[in-house]
Subunit: 151 residues, 2 copies
DNA sequence: CTCTCTGCAAAATGTTTGCACACTC
DNA sequence: GAGTGTGCAAACATTTTGCAGAGAG
């Protein structure tokens, strides 16, 4: 499997090396459903690979982000969160529901048809009007989750 | 004018005091079109009110955010950015276009009818399905601005 | 006059960087 | 073997906190 990963080929193709650490990090990311911070990943790694430092996690995430393999989100609870991009992960296209109290993040993939119609139109219009090349969009809803109780 | 501000009344109503610093900060925010960081506000303030510390800026912004007077955004260039909420500012409902290279933020208010239709449906559906009380939404497009050149 | 608000300095947090060694290709 | 990648420790930047004094109501 060492040389069969899509992301690995992508990195190699750009002249980067495939290392144990990089594999371990992508592996963690592809086996989780949650949105992990650099520290989360570091600790998850620590059980099996105690010799991978937090620095490497940060450097790897940066590299992966620059190569379109992970997405970085800053939802506002201090630390940035990461997940594999649609192209390299196994989550469907989705957006986020973020609880203002506990910080829980819920992925949702509902209503994507409606969204698509809206986005397509908007992206085209905005790109033209502001001469902006749009690469990505982010739609998030903030509020209070069931557990934290409505107010 | 000291006691006539909507935001001031809101604060007072909640038992908080109206101070020079708080007025100055809201004043700066209501006279700018850009998205300012705490430090930006601190320096903008410094000309007229050199005695207001950065700590106060942070504490005030936190208070204002908790009372729904300002919105805090973390777009990912390190520092958080603030702007008055729709209810207390004078910007129309809008969203953001963020340049990945230079960090420029463009507000846009176009296509709001399409958005409204999509959002209304989605919010209702999500709220119901995930038992989530939605307070706010955020739609952002990321890409490369005209100045930074498309790629 | 009471109690909140503030400035200052110090701490805490998340992230980045320099350097010598380790490992991939 | 050449050159990228890594761990460690230290540097950094932003934001938060403790405390004694200042100011609002």
């Amino acid at each position: 499997m060492r040389h069969g990963h899509k992301w690995g080929n992508k990195l190699r193709g750009c002249g980067f090396r495939l290392t144990i650490g990089r594999e371990a990090i992508v592996d963690i990311l592809s086996h989780t459903n949650s949105h992990m911070s650099a520290e989360d990943i570091f600790f998850a790694l620590h059980a099996d690979s105690p010799n991978i430092g937090l620095t490497t996690v940060y450097r790897t995430l940066e590299l992966l982000e620059k190569n379109g393999i992970v997405s970085k989100y800053e939802f506002g609870h201090g630390r940035a969160k990461f997940e594999l991009t649609e192209a390299y992960g196994n989550k469907p296209h989705h957006h986020h529901l973020i609880c203002r109290k506990c910080g829980t993040i819920i992925d949702y993939s509902d209503f994507m048809e409606d969204e698509l119609a809206y986005l397509k139109k908007t992206e085209a219009g905005l790109g033209k009007k502001y001469k902006f090349t749009i690469h990505q969009h982010s739609i998030s809803f903030f509020g209070i989750c069931e557990k934290c109780g409505a107010s």
